[in-house]
Structures are given as structure tokens and as C-alpha cells.
Amino acid sequence: MNKHPLIEMKGIYKKFGAIEALKGVDFIINYNEIVGLIGDNGAGKSTLINILSGVYQPDKGKIYKEGKEVIISSHTDAIKLGIETIYQNTALVDQMSVMRNIFLGREMTLPFGFLNKRDMKQKALQILTESIAISGIKSPDQLVEYLSGGQKQAVAIARAVHFKSQILLLDEPTTALSVKESRKVLEYIKHLKENGVSSVFVTHNMEHVYGIADRLVILSRGEKIKDVRKEDTSLEELSEIMISH
């Protein structure tokens, strides 16, 4: 086993104007792990995720991937490091087909910039049949605007996984979904963990993440106030901490 964690963020500090969004936070993601990142609005969890996905740069602090220091100065940098962010409203283009969305920005091409539609379609079909959560999508040519919220999430996740992401950052993934759909997405994330994909699940709703998380991290006003493995705590204890802060 590797002696370094998959991702290690050390002493991350970020200020927006006069507001200290993060006051020196340490955050670790291990191999094959689902981390629940919990906190109220304004606790700093989105800032932390945005730093890891290259949207913001920290004012102070370092980021290591597998023990090596990395600088993530753009979204593209993050993707290159295998870190993919799944947004609440899923960064898919509604008027385009499922296939074109899966390959958006990473198209298979022939010479002279022509799209290799045949191979992309074949791959897209394979992705659709292999990922368990994407049920009900009949064809890769279907337009994304006709998919349900859960199907869109699943397509976004399947896209990330297909392109070898090691770490999924899920920002409030279940907020916009029905109960049934969010359960499917959660199952999918669990299934991915067994295949070596770690996830960070950001939410302000502890019940959503408690079921699948291996470790829970609570942020409050820019500071980490709890970092605990699930077997060492309970939902009651965590709720207590959330309320008292």
C-alpha cells in the first residue's frame, strides 16, 4: 500500500476581502475512500473544494498528490491530476446529445479536426450500458435536456470515470434530486469506490452522506472542527457538534 494519502491539503488559508473563508485547514483523501465534507452555509466547504478543483488558488498552504507537491492553477490542471468535479447542476450542455456531452472537450478525432463519430458512439454505448446508474437512456443520441436530474448526474459521473478520474468532488450532488434518484447516485458512488475511485461528498445535510461515507469532516467558520472515521462516531454525536457550533 502507498504510504502517502491520495491527496493531502496542508494549512489551506484563503481570504476573500476581509473575510477569512479558510483559516488553515488540513484535509486528506485516502485511496478507496468516501469522505463526507459537512458544514453549514459559509463554513468554507465550497471554497475548499474549489481550491482542489482549480477554481481558486489558496493564499497559503500546500497540496500534495501521492506525496508530491502539486499546484492546481486551473480546472484543466485538476482534470489532468485526475480530480473531477461534479456540479449540482451538472456541467452538461442541454441542447447536445449524451454522446457529445460525454466526449465534450475530449473528442475522438480523425485527421483535420473531423469528429470520429462512429468510435465515439460505440464508446458512449459501452459507457451507458456499463454504468449501472444510467438507466432509461435509450440512445447516445438522446438530447441531455430530456434526461432527469439523476440521469444527468450519472452521465456526468460516468464521463469522469471513463476518463480515469481518481477523485470525484461532488458538490451537493443530491440537492436537486428526488429521494429515489439520490439513492441511485449514492449507490453508484459506492460502486465506484470498489473500483478504486475516491469521492468527496460535500453537503450540509448529514443524513445524505452518513450512509455511505467512510470518514466525516466537519467545517465551521473556516476551521476543521471534526475529522473522524464513521465507526468511531455516531449520527447523534455529529449532529450535536453541528448544532453546538
Binding site: 480546472h75 484543466t76 482534470i79 468535479t85 456540479y87 456541467a91 452538461l92 450542455v93 442541454d94 441542447q95 447536445m96 457529445r100 465534450l104 472537450g105 475530449r106 473528442e107 478525432t109 483535420f112 479536426g113 473531423f114 469528429l115 463519430k117
Partner: protein
Amino acid sequence: MLKLFKRKDRTVITIYLVLVILFIIPSIISPVFRTYRNISNILHQAASLGIVSVGQTFIVLLTGLDLSVGSVMSLTTVICATLMKNNPSMIFLTILLSLAVGAGIGFLNGFLVSKVKLSPLIATLGMMALVQGIALRVRPYPGGYVPRSFGDTITGNLFFIPVPAIILLLVVVAGIITLRKTILGNYIYATGGGEENARLAGININLVKISAYTICGLIAAVAGLVLTGRIRSGDPLVGTSFPLDSITAVIVGGTPFTGGQGGIEGTIAGALIIAMLSNMLNLLNVSSFYQYIVKGLILITAVVIYSLRRK
């Protein structure tokens, strides 16, 4: 029957049905309309509009618009009527220069829209005035000399097909291939459909916009060359009506101002509809200000119909 087709195909089919109906009815009523001479005339008129509308489609797909295309066309006629001499190499060089100027103006539009972050309306409005000014400075009144050989080639026929129609066809085919089959086309649809999401997918939005505006400027210059062949002189104001007409052609053709869907297939029908209506109104001796009223009504009606359908 239309239910058999996908929604986007239905829009294109509907617009072609309108086109066919608009062709059949006057053909029955008017013996003049259905003559080879008149139809060839329509194609000549439709060619420059059709060509420039192809470029305009690239921009509307990106939720933008290009008001400078008319000035580019005027400037092209002025450049040709000033520099073309009656020898093949000068004609060739002038054509190249015109295309380069058109592409350069388009590039500047793209730069202003993407890097300087001006709204397309402001950027291309400014460019429209600027290029118009240059055309008027070079040639305040219509005139100049366009070699017969150039004019005759552009307005001639090839196997009974008017050369402008052939140029139009080539531009249309190249445009459709670019938008539907290449990575650039894919990025134009993605950027128009959801700019932020396209950016998150790692697409260089600025490069996509600059490419599209450059292509639009280049195509406007091609349209200007075809127009030069027809009017056989340099006219600094000849392109004035083309921004409105080309935007109307794109919208009537089913590409909405919200971008990301539609395409050149519909635009061409839109351009032919406008050219045919103009021709009919000319045959009926309707004066040109009524033609503007008709075009305005078509544009507004098309937008109303499409927005009702999308609800």
C-alpha cells in the same frame, strides 16, 4: 407526418415546406415568375445573401450577432473596384486581399467579444461604423473599375447553373461540414448551448469565438466578391441591408437567438425565402420601403412563431 422526425429536423422541414409553397403559388399565378430568366435572377440575388447568412449562422449559434458584415461587403466592392486591373494576377491578388481584410475584421470582432468582453452588439456595431467609414473614405461615391473578365465569370453560368449559386453551394457545404462534422463545430454548439459548462469541460471559449467571427468575416468578403461581380463597381453603401437580411435569414431558418441549436440547413431556406419575396415584390412594382416593412414583419413573425412552439 411531421411527428416522424426529431424536433430539430421538424423545424428544418417546416421551413422548407414554406419555401416550396412560396415558390409554387407565384409560379401558378405569374408567368413571368416561373421563367428561367427570373429564377436565375432570384438565384443571383439570393447568392450574396445566402453566403453572408452562412457566416452569420456561426455567430448566432454562439448567441451573438455580427452587424459588420454589410460594411465588409461594401468595403470588398470598393477594394475590388479600386485595385483590380485587367490582368489575371492583379485580379487574383485583389481577391486574396479582400478575403484577408474580411477575415481580419472578423478576427478583430472576435477579439473584442472574447478578450475585451464587449457585447457582440456593441463590438460589431462599432466595427460596422468603422469599416463603413473606411469604405466611404476610399470611395465616397459609387464607381471605379471592375474588369469584364471578373464580372463575366462571377455572373456567368456553368452548365446552365449561375456561378453565384455554385459559390453559394460550396460555402453552404463547407459550412455544414464545419459545424456538424468537426471539433470546431462541436465547440461552437457547446459554447452557444452553455458557455460556462463548455468552459468547465476544458474548451477554450475565446479561441472558439475568435475562430467563428473570423470565419464570418471571411465569408462576408466572399459574399462581397459575388456582389462586386454583379454591380461591377465599388459602392460604399451597397451592403447596408445585409446585416438585417442575414440575421432575418438565420432566425427564419430556425436558429434561435439563444444559440446552441439550429444550423445552416435552415438558414439557406430562410435566405431563399427573403430573396424570393423581394423578387415577387419587385415584379409587383412594390417600392423598396414596403420591402423593408415586409422583412421586418417576417422577422418578428418568425420569432413569435418559434417562441410559441418552444413553450
